[in-house]
Structure formats: structure tokens, C-alpha cells
Amino acid sequence: MSMFWSNAKRLREYPTAMIGLTIIIALAVMSIVTLVVIPYGEAVRLWRGGAAVWSDSPKNAWPLWYDWLKREKMPRTIVVDSRDPAVEKVVEATGRDTVDVTMDLEFDYPYDGFPPELTLFLTSTYRERRPHVSLKWITPDGREIRVASLTPTRSDSYRFTQDRTLQRRLGRGRVEELLFAVPEREPLVALNGPYTLHVEGLLFEEDATLDAKLVVYGVVHGLAGTDHLRRDLLIALLWGTPVAMAFGLLAAAGTTLTTMCIAATAVWFGGLVDATAQRIVGVVMVLPVLPILIMIGTFYSRSIWVMLGTVILLSIFGASILSYRAIFMQVRTLPYVEAAQAYGASNPRIVFRYLVPRVLPMIVPNLVILVPGFVFLEAALAVLGLGDPVLPTWGKVIQNANVEGALFKGYYYWILQPAALLMLAGFAFAMVGFALDRVFNPRLREL
């Protein structure tokens, strides 16, 4: 084992290995932080939450870093809620059963370009009679635009874009653009300054209430952008890290260790055991691994742990058993094994305490080199639509993007970010693995 550490120290001579190690450590830290900050249940709730969780974020918004690359200031999401104490809200009883509620939802709009969507969420309490609400849009230059009159239900939303009457009143063009544009100028330019949505509610019951929340959706949102279901991709990207690391490391460790143990057992017992092991290797070589994985994913379970188990099972008797076998054939003849046999060590003891530990350090490079393959295998399964049904992973983000035609529609961030993370993880392990390989195989070191 001491030789192992002295060899491992030699890694310092390889700059690529050090870069790779740094990335791996960074990813590990990221995984731990993610697991602590967004626990499993919370991640699943957020990712599967749907409209209830994500109504305030825009659809397919670019990540914030895109804004830094662009010269214009891209619109971000603005939320103005009347429940916020800073918002002015006047409640006034005007008659025996009528109450007037006036709210001024004010916000500043300092951005270039126009928001893609504009929605007002109305929540009200009443027994029988719905409130009456009228909306007025006040621009920074003082124009007042009548927007709509509504009678909302208890929890209702008013989408500016979908209002045909408003569209007709404003003229040609998109509603959001016309509401935010400098009047009478072509091409359309956004008018910056304070905007107000004046909400006037008429309630017909004494104890009725009315609240309003205006969401001006942004073109950029969150550090990682959002997908077609308005979900913040940051959650998937963060949660993808521990999933990818766990899958890659467990699969690599599981396959190498079990394969090695089987090879050691086969070599030690020889004869029929060895022959059987070799026959099984032959059969497994004929088995199409990926198709079988896909079959299990479709017919049985798509859980990432079932997949992991299958991958390990299928790779246990992989072709690598033959190379381990060759190594153990040499180790078996070494004097210390003979000595162990002479003092009466049992067969399992010889296999697991004498043969396996001897070869263990040699498999480290192999193990590390295998990791990227499994990380990408998980992503590949997800891209085929066989990702874990609940967990957000990198591969699933890519699959979603692919299915939604992200590349075709130009939402590059959607694929680039998870792909970059995949690449980072894959290359990091590969770089460390290659360096380890050179350190541990002296024959390669000279070259």
C-alpha cells in the first residue's frame, strides 16, 4: 500500500491530473452543498411541482450570464404583489355591502427590449358574489391605458397577451410591446421608467378581500435559465452533480471490484470454476448491453438505482475479467501465497486477504478511467427517455431540450449548460485516470 501512496504522489508531476483533481473536488463540494441546501424531497417537489411552484418564472428564459455577454440590458422578471407592505393598497367601505379596493402596482422598468409575457394573478375571498376589477396601465410619460374589466374567481389570472379586446384597442403588434413602447416610433423601443398598474376592485360583500400580483416575465431568469415548464434549470444542474458522481463512481467501483473478486476466485480454484467463469464471459460478450438496459428501463423500472444494478450485473462478467485473470495467474504463483497455503489459510482467506489486496492498487487507474463512461451512460439513458422518473439529472435536461427542439428554436443554453457540466465531470475523471495509468504502469511511464 505504501507504494500506492508514493505512486499517487507522483500525480503532482502531471498538470492535467491536477486540473482534473481540482474539478473533481469542486464537483464533490458542489454535490454536498446541493444535498444540504436542497434535500431530496425538496428537489423532487420543486422539479415535479408544475404551475403551482413556477408560476412566477418565465418560460424558456435565458440564464442571467447571457445578459452579461450582451450589450443591451435584458429584461428580468419583476414581481409586484399587493400583499407586500411596500405596495400602496387602499380599502374603503363605500356602501352597505360594497367595498372599494385600490392598488397601485408600481415598478421600475430599466431594461432594453420587451418582456415576453405579462400576467396578473388575482386572489380574492367572497361567499357568493365575485368582485369586479378594472385595470389601468399608466406609463412613465403619463399615458393612461384602459386594460380590462374582470370578474375574477377566487384564484384567477389575467394574461395580457391573450386578451383580444385589449389587443384590438392597442392596435397592431404584441400587447407587451405596445404597453412598454415609446409611442409612435418605429422600430419599437422600450420606454424606461416607473410604470403603474392601477387595480380598482369593487367587492360586494363586507368581509370580502382582493389581492393582486403582477408578474412581468423576463427574458433572462435565474443563474441557469428556465425550461419550457418555467422550471429553474439551476435545480436540475445542481442535483445532476451528486447523481452523476454517485452513478459514475458506484458503477465503476462496483464493476471493477466484483470483476476482480470473481477473477481471483476463478484463478484460485481453477478447473471447473475457472472454465465456468470463462464460459459466462463468452455468453455475456454476446449479450447486447445497451439494448438490455433499454428493455429493463421500458418494461420494468426506470429508477436510477435499478439501472445501476443492471449495469453492474452486466459488466461483472465483462471482457475485463480476462485481463484480471492474467494478472492473478501471476500473483497465484508468488511465494507469499504458497506460504499462506502452507500455514493452512482457508480458500476465502487466500482469495480476499492475499490475492485481491495485492492487485487492488493496480486497479485504481482502471476504476477512474471507467467513471466517465458510466456518467455518460446515465446521460445516454436519459436522452433516450429512460432517465429516473423523479430525479432531475443532466441527461434529463438534455432530453427535455432535445424533445422540445431547443437547438432548432435557438435555446442553446438549455443544452450547453448540462453538456458543459457533463463534459467537465467526464474529462476531469478521464484526465486523472490517464495520468494514474501512466504512473501505475511503468511501461507506459517511459514513453
Binding site: 492535467t16 482534473g20 464460459r279 463468452g282 455468453v283 455475456v284 460478450m285 454476446v286 449479450l287 447486447p288 448491453v289 445497451l290 439494448p291 438490455i292 433499454i294 428493455m295 429493463i296 421500458t298 418494461f299 420494468y300 471482457a319 466517465p372 463512461g373 455518460f376 446521460a379 445516454a380 436522452v383 433516450l384 427517455g385 438534455i398 432535445n402 437547438l407 432548432f408 435557438g410 442553446y412 443544452i415 450547453l416 453538456a419 457533463l422 463534459m423 467526464g426 474529462f427 475523471f429 478521464a430 484526465m431 485516470g433 490517464f434 511501461r443 507506459l444 514513453l447
Partner: protein, 387 residues
């Protein structure tokens, strides 16, 4: 084989007749040995393939789980048909149930679903091994047939074209580049290849995504996917051009993901072999570089090159699925993916069986080529044959 023998015959010009009769006898012995070796391997491989196919069938049916889905499907179809049948609607409840049960029983018997799965699995095995692949449940071939054999054979050529091209290109480029690098190792190119080797950690489909992003989405130079334009051009020249245009991205994706690593590992491999004593000896004799490479480096490494070629073929067969899905390539892999989406068990099992056969065939080919190039096999190991 012939190369060596020719040089042997060229250098030793003794009694020509004696040599030729001796060599004829030796050739005959070699031939019978090789036949015996091949037959033994063929039998062993046959059993291996049978076991592999049987395992695949067991997995494809999830130990009978898929049959439950099929039974439910049969019942649903028959129930639906019965509810729309005016003659049945008027019948009393009992009579109707009896008729429906009878029809379900018949339909299940037709598919042998009334027998236990264990028995049925052997029928499946027989059908699979004889390539009697049956009929697809949902998928239809382009010509409108439901025969699985036709559905599959229709999809085989696109896969072969794409993966044959990319893998042959990859294999020969890598070996030629590796030979060049091993000749002057330590050079700038050598270091570049070594530094780039870890990029092969990412698979082809992954680079495919990037290539699509750059060349199809951003630059609009090449198509997003597919095999030919729609509608396919009638003119064969235009057809070939369209095909080539669609092949550029998937082939480059495969090359990007594997070229550096294979070049790197071949280079290392050649370097190890060219530091052997007999190569040094040949160099000392002053043989030209080309000859050293051909006779003293490539010749002894031929078995390994063939092994890796066969392994590459194996990965070719199964690696196709995702790359074809990403590039919308109408090959076997995408067919497999679609069959899975539609729960079309006959097609799924058939493709898995075809894969198993192809893998078995590849392994057999490997063994045969091994027998041709490996002197230990040719001369007969441990039988005191001529060295």
C-alpha cells in the same frame, strides 16, 4: 502467411522438389488443424450464442411480465370489439361474458399465452434461433409489411452505411496516425494527441449535439438529422450527395469521440512493440524503416489489431442506438428505440437477437482471423510443431 513463406523460399534455394513436397504436407496439416480449430470454436460459439439469445429473451419478456401486458391488451381489444358489436349487445349478460371469455381464450391460445412462460420461452428461443421472427405488433415497414424480418432488413443498410463508414475511417486513420507518431514520439503532434486523449471520455452522440448546435442550428450549413432530403432525390448522383451531406455530422461525431484515444493507445502499443530486441536488431542490421514497420512491428501485433477491430465492431453494433436517435438516422438503433416506445415486443426481441447473432458472428470472425494470423494456432500449440 504467404509473405513469410515467400521470403523463406526465396532465401533457401536448396532442393526445390523436396521443399515443395514438404511444404505441401505442412500446408495440409496446417489446413486440417485450422479446420478442426474452427469447427470447435464454431460449436462453442453456437452454444454461447444460444445461451446469450435465451438470456436476452428472458430479459425481454421480463420473466413473463410482458405477457401480462399482452394479456391485458388482448382482453381490452376484445372487450372493446364486443361493446361495439350490435349482435352481442342484445345478448343476455351471461351469454356475452361467455363469448368474450371464449374469444380471449382463443386469442391467448393463438399466442401460446395459455402455456407457462417457461415452456413458451423455448418456443421463443426456437423461433429466434431460426430467425423466424414473427410479426410486429405496431411497427410497420416502409413497404407496409408487418413482418419483423422485413422491418429489420429495411433498417439494416442505413446503419451499415453510417457505422461502417465512420468506424473504418476511424480505424485506419488511427492506425496510420499512430504509426507516424510512434516513429517520432515526443514531437509536438505526439504531445497534442496525448493531451487530447481524455476528450474521448465523451461518447459520439454527445459531440453530435454540439455539432448539430454549431453546423445545423447556428450556421445552417448542414442538416439537423435524417439520412436524405425529403423527398429523396431520384437522380442517384443527387441522392449520394444528399446522403453524404447528412453523413458528415454523425461521422465527425464518431471520429471526434474516438480518434484521439485510439491513436494514443495504438501509438503506445506500437512503441512498446518497437522497443523489443528483435526490432533493435533489425534497426542495427540497417533495414529500411518501412520494412521494419511492416515485418517487425505490424506483423507481430496483427492479432491484437484484429482483436481491437472486432471489439470495435461489437461497440459499433450497440453504440448505434443513441447516435441514431440524436441524428434521427433511420437505422436499426432508432428502430429499436421506437419499438421500445411502442412496447412492440416481437421487434424488440428480434433486434436483440439480431444483435446477439451479429456479436457472435463477429467473435467467430475474430477467432477465424486469429487462426489465420496467429502462428501458435497455425502451427498447433504444444504439439511440437515446427517453430
Amino acid at each position: 502467411m504467404s509473405l513469410e513463406r515467400r521470403s523463406l523460399e526465396g532465401t533457401i534455394a536448396v532442393d526445390a522438389e523436396a521443399v515443395s513436397s514438404a511444404s505441401r504436407r505442412a500446408r495440409l496439416a496446417t489446413f486440417t488443424r485450422m479446420i478442426r480449430y474452427t469447427v470447435i470454436r464454431l460449436v462453442a460459439l453456437f452454444f454461447t450464442v444460444v445461451a446469450g439469445v435465451y438470456l436476452t429473451i428472458l430479459i425481454a419478456n421480463m420473466g413473463g411480465y410482458v405477457d401480462q401486458i399482452r394479456r391485458a391488451q388482448i382482453r381490452e381489444t376484445i372487450d372493446l370489439a364486443a361493446s361495439e358489436d350490435p349482435a352481442l349487445r342484445l345478448m343476455p349478460e351471461e351469454e356475452r361474458t361467455r363469448i368474450i371469455e371464449e374469444r380471449v381464450r382463443l386469442a391467448e391460445a393463438r399466442l401460446r399465452l395459455d402455456q407457462p412462460f417457461f415452456v413458451r420461452s423455448f418456443y421463443y428461443l426456437r423461433d429466434a434461433l431460426t430467425l423466424n421472427l414473427g410479426f410486429a405488433e405496431r411497427l410497420v415497414s416502409d413497404s407496409g409489411s408487418k413482418q419483423v424480418r422485413l422491418v429489420i432488413t429495411e433498417r439494416l443498410p442505413p446503419t451499415l452505411v453510417l457505422f461502417g463508414t465512420s468506424n473504418l475511417l476511424l480505424f485506419f486513420t488511427a492506425i496510420i496516425a499512430a504509426l507516424n507518431l510512434s516513429r517520432r514520439y515526443g514531437s509536438r503532434w505526439d504531445k497534442l494527441v496525448m493531451a487530447m486523449a481524455p476528450t474521448s471520455a465523451a461518447p459520439g452522440w454527445f459531440y453530435g449535439l454540439f455539432l448539430i448546435l454549431i453546423f445545423a442550428a447556428a450556421l445552417r450549413l448542414l442538416p439537423f438529422g435524417g439520412m436524405v432530403e425529403a423527398p429523396p432525390p431520384d437522380n442517384p448522383v443527387l441522392y449520394a450527395r444528399s446522403l453524404l451531406k447528412h453523413m458528415v455530422l454523425p461521422v465527425s461525431a464518431t471520429l471526434m469521440s474516438a480518434l484521439f484515444f485510439s491513436t494514443y493507445s495504438w501509438r503506445t502499443f506500437f512503441l512498446i512493440f518497437s522497443s523489443e530486441d528483435y526490432v533493435e536488431m533489425a534497426k542495427a542490421k540497417g533495414l529500411p524503416n518501412r520494412m521494419i514497420e511492416r515485418r517487425y512491428v505490424l506483423r507481430p501485433t496483427l492479432p491484437n489489431i484484429i482483436t481491437s477491430f472486432a471489439l470495435m465492431l461489437i461497440s459499433l453494433w450497440t453504440g448505434a442506438i443513441i447516435l441514431e436517435t440524436v441524428f434521427n438516422w433511420p437505422g436499426l438503433g432508432r428502430l429499436y428505440f421506437r419499438a421500445i416506445g411502442l412496447y412492440d415486443t416481437p421487434v424488440i426481441v428480434a433486434i436483440a437477437v439480431v444483435y446477439a447473432y451479429l456479436l457472435g458472428l463477429t467473435l467467430f470472425l475474430l477467432d477465424f482471423l486469429y487462426a489465420l494470423v496467429d502462428p501458435r494456432v497455425r502451427v498447433g500449440e504444444g504439439r511440437g510443431g515446427r517453430a
